[in-house]
Each structure stands twice: as C-alpha cells, then as structure tokens.
C-alpha cells in the first residue's frame, strides 16, 4: 500500500506531526479564532479543533489577505500548525506561511482521505514534495 502523498516542491523544513484532515475549505478570517488557533465557524468540518502542532490538510482555501499576518501571530501565541497541506491554495496563505517559517506544500496527490485518517502521524518533506505515513492512529 502506498502511504505517501506527493506534491510539487514546497516551502520549509522537514517536520513530523499528527495529521488533521478537513473536508471543508479554509479561511483564516472566516473559519478560525486567530487568538486560539481553533476552528470557530459553526458547522465547519473541524469546528472546535486546534491546528496547534499538527500537520493540517485543507482541500482548498477561501478569501482573504488576513492569512498574511495570522500565521506569524499564531506562532507567537504557540498555536501554529507544524505544517500545512493544501489541495488548491492561494498566494496569501503561502506569503503568510513563508513569513512564519511554517512548512507547506500544495497540490497533494492522491486525496489524503484515501490513505490517511486524522490522528495518524506523518513526516512531511517540502523539499522532496513527500508526506509519509509513519504511524497510524490507535483510535478507530
């Protein structure tokens, strides 16, 4: 079984962490409480979940330029994700993640839901464009 996601080369250092998968798109301003890093929009697939320390996946992004500063502020508050995986992204997400020094890739293949579950441990190498499963979650 191939337990690797592939992507074009991205940004940032290699990181390891627990993966958190969202079926919903992501907007910093619309979906997240920027003081806590918790997804706050009612009905969002990750409502109530924290991004802190995790490697998070969103299939696409929505909206605006708030992302430019928000990751730096999240990092200052200790709530930044360890890494971010996108299906489709936009420039402001990347501008913000570069500023904060957070690893990121986009155009990941295949659909992460086909090989990963939230809670799995993964290793992400943006330079090679790899995201590898290293330990499955113990929760069913």
């Amino acid at each position: 079984v191939n337990r690797r996601l592939e992507a074009p080369p991205g940004f940032g250092p290699d990181v390891e962490g627990e993966v958190l998968l969202s079926r919903d798109t992501f907007s910093i301003r619309y979906d997240m409480d920027r003081e806590t890093g918790i997804i706050s929009r009612r009905g969002h697939a990750l409502e109530g979940q924290s991004l802190a320390g995790r490697i998070v996946y969103f299939p696409a992004v929505q909206g605006g330029v708030a992302a430019g500063w928000a990751f730096l502020e999240l990092a200052r508050r200790g709530h930044a994700p360890a890494g971010v995986l996108f299906g489709r992204t936009n420039p402001v997400m990347i501008q913000g993640l570069v500023l904060a020094g957070i690893s990121v890739v986009h155009q990941v293949r295949p659909d992460p839901f086909t090989i990963l579950r939230s809670g799995d441990r993964v290793r992400m190498s943006p330079a090679r464009g790899w995201v590898d499963l290293i330990d499955t979650t113990t929760f069913a």
């Binding site: 696409a60 605006g64 430019g68 200052r76 489709r88």
Partner: protein
C-alpha cells in the same frame, strides 16, 4: 528565479538587511508558484492594521523601522480597525486604539501613506491598463485585474511590505497572460436592481468557483453598470470564491466578447444564474427573528453615491431606539458627503458614519458583545460572508430593506425568509 542585477545586489546585502530579507521572502513565494523572474511595481496597497497583524506583525514592522527600512515606491494603506475620532462611540478597547495609533506612526516612518481605504481604486489610484501592482485586500485586487486591466496577485500584508521595500514582485499568477484567460462561463438571466443583488451574484459565482486560479466569465450583464455595482460584485466574488479576476463580457477590457475572454478556448463549465439562484442565495441568510440589532453598510467602504442613497432613504426619519445603524467610508468621501449634507442626514437620523475603517476588521465580535448585538443586517454580501466566522448571524438584504428595518427596528414578514 532569475535575478536581475539590482536583485543580486539586494541579495548580497548591499541595500541592507530589511530589503534582503524582504527579497528572500519574495523569492520563496515566487519559487513556490513557479515564478522565473521579478517585475517592477509602481504602487503598493497594503493591509496594515492591528486587527489583522496582531502583536507579531506589529513587532515585525517595529523591527523594520528600527533597522532603518524605507519604502522605495508609494505604499498606501487599506481600511483599518480604528476610527480614532469615534473609537469611544463604538466602545473599542483603549489598548487596541493605542496600538493602532502606534502602528500608523510606524508605517509612516517606513514611508507609507496612511489613506486607510479599501476603495483606493475609486478614489485615489486608478491603475493603468497592463500596469503591474502589489495590492492587498482582495476587493482591490479583483478590481485592478478585472476592471482596470492592471496586474496583481493577492499580496497580503507582509508581501505588500516586501514589495514596498524591494520595488518588485514575483512574476507569477495574474501578472502573466496565461493566468488571465477565462475558465468558467456564467450566463446571467436575472435582473440586478440593487447593490446587494450584485453582491449576491458575486456570491453565487464565487461559491461555484472557489478557486484563486479560475477566472469566471460572466455574460448577460452588459450595459451601463455603475462602478459601485462592480465593486460589490467583485468584493463578493473575491470573498466567496477566493477569485482575483473576472471578465464581464462587453464590459471589462480583456473581454470585448466571449472569444476574447476565453482566448478561443472552450469554457470548463457553463452555468446559468437565474432569479431562483439569486433568491436561494438570499435565503441562505434567513433572519432568525424580526428584530434587528444592527444594520451595517460597509465592506467595501461606501462611495459618495452610496452614502447619498442611504442619506436620502433616511432623510427626516429616525433609526429605531433598539437598532443601530453603522456606515463606513474613507476620509475623502466623508469630506465630500459632509459638503453634500449626507453625513448630517445620516447622523441626525441616529446613524454613525465611521471613517477610515471597515466594520469587519473593527473586532465586530467584541463590539457586538459590548452592545448586545447578535443579528447583523447588511446589503454587503462580502460582509455577510465574513461575520459568520465571528459567531454573529448575518442577514443579507437589499439596501432599501436594510434602511427600512433600521427605522422600524424590524424586518417585515416577507424579508424574514425572502
């Protein structure tokens, strides 16, 4: 990326550390998106307010000032989170007000022009066709690309700062011809009578597009379109769809006809947007009850003509004691609207005209808590989209419905679930 001679000198540190670090960030972003080179830009428009930047962003800007950084091209600022003359009126935190004032001073020290507007394209800087820009605020970007035929990506605060310091931006995305070709076709078969209808149209198309890299092509709306209609349409399309460009066939400069918009290619999909689709969009914002807590006209800031419309609808009337009415605009329009009597008409009706701000960046959740607001009635689809994230209940309705509800304090039965 291939660097020019000046960029090589920047990288070597000859122009100082802040400029070198700015260019390094631009290289990282450019390489992420496959840019091969930089293009010079003549104007930067940046989001720089405490609400969006946080303490980390503030410290970053403070560091630049301490290092002696200076912008090398004109950098204008977007709507901010504090109207310094009216902060007490809207019960904003003294700490936020203080920090925002300090931030404005820091940006001035970098050489920024704190014009504090999200409608720079209507009032301050009309880009020329083909001009490369580094603009932040999605509503300004989509206007520049679509209506002016200028070229810019979404440049968030730090990216705009970097462009201001280096005078260049990476050449990818909407700077390139290939990215500006239409991809999705939308045929409008609905009457658009109010600015809220234009926002709703942007919302419908945005929800269906939801991709920064897709360019919707809209047919069926040619005619005499007001800039305010295009403003609400674009702001909503950018907000709901993350879009940076659209073509209105027969209206915008890179879409004289459909073949021009698609450069002879087939659209990836074609969708009809009819009256039912617009009605369904309004219905996605049902009013939980008839009572209206606050009516907000903002997002984007109002033009003089929008201010005039609200003023005329309110003339000689009073906003209901249980309801608040808030309008935001920029300094220039406030001045003109004062001369025209619009500001007096709105204020003597009990409304507030806030200046240099946009409501959704003014910590609306805190403001709502301070005033006990839960439901926000607006004619701005963009605003309706955003404030859901603040756990407020947005209700999108046409401008006249919003004003009537502000006066009566209630939405009529037919507007509860349109």
């Amino acid at each position: 990326m291939k660097l020019g001679e000046r960029e090589e000198r920047i990288c070597a540190g000859e122009l100082g550390d802040p400029v070198r670090e700015a260019l390094e960030q631009q290289i990282a972003v450019g390489e992420f998106f496959g840019a091969r080179r930089f293009v010079p830009v003549a104007n930067v428009h940046m989001m720089g307010d405490m609400e969006v930047m946080g303490e980390a962003g503030f410290a970053f800007v403070e560091g630049l000032v301490r290092a002696g950084a200076r912008f090398r091209i004109p950098v204008t600022t977007n709507a901010r989170c504090v109207d310094f003359d009216r902060a007490t009126l809207v019960r904003q935190r003294p700490e936020l007000v203080r920090n925002e004032a300090r931030l404005v001073e820091l940006l001035r020290a970098l050489g920024a022009l704190p014009v504090d507007t999200c409608i720079n394209y209507q009032t301050l800087y009309q880009p020329s066709f083909g001009e490369h820009l580094a603009w932040g605020d999605t509503g300004t970007v989509i206007w520049a690309n679509s209506v002016a035929g200028a070229r810019t990506n979404y440049e968030a605060g730090p990216a705009a700062l970097a462009a201001g310091l280096t005078g260049v931006t990476p050449d990818y995305g909407y700077h390139q011809d290939a990215q500006r070709i239409g991809s999705l076709r939308f045929e409008v078969r609905a009457r658009l009578e109010d600015l809220a209808d234009w926002g709703a149209l942007g919302g419908v198309i945005g929800r269906r597009t939801l991709d920064y890299w897709k360019v919707p092509v809209v047919t069926g709306v040619a005619g005499s379109l007001s800039p305010d209609a295009l403003k609400h349409f674009g702001a909503a399309l950018a907000s709901y769809g993350s879009c940076a460009m659209y073509h209105l066939v027969g209206v915008t400069p890179e879409a004289r006809d459909e073949a021009d918009a698609f450069r002879g290619r087939e659209p990836e999909a074609s969708t009809v947007v009819d009256e039912d689709a617009l009605r369904a969009f309004y219905r996605s914002y049902p009013a939980p009850h008839a009572e209206v807590d606050v009516v907000v006209f903002s997002g984007p800031q109002l033009s003089v003509f929008e201010l005039g419309r609200v003023a005329n609808l309110l003339a000689g009337r009073r906003v209901h004691p249980n309801t608040a009415l808030v309008v935001t605009t920029n300094f220039g329009n406030h001045e003109v609207a004062t001369r025209l009597g619009y500001v007096r008409a709105i204020e003597s009706a009990g409304g507030h005209v806030l200046t240099g701000v946009c409501w959704y960046v003014m910590e609306p959740a805190r403001m709502a808590a301070a005033f006990g607001w839960r439901t926000v009635l607006t004619n701005s689809a963009k605003l309706a989209n955003i404030i859901g994230g603040y756990r407020l209940t947005p209700v999108l309705r046409r401008t006249d419905v919003c004003v009537e509800a502000a006066v009566s304090g209630r939405l009529p039965a037919e507007a509860l679930d349109p």
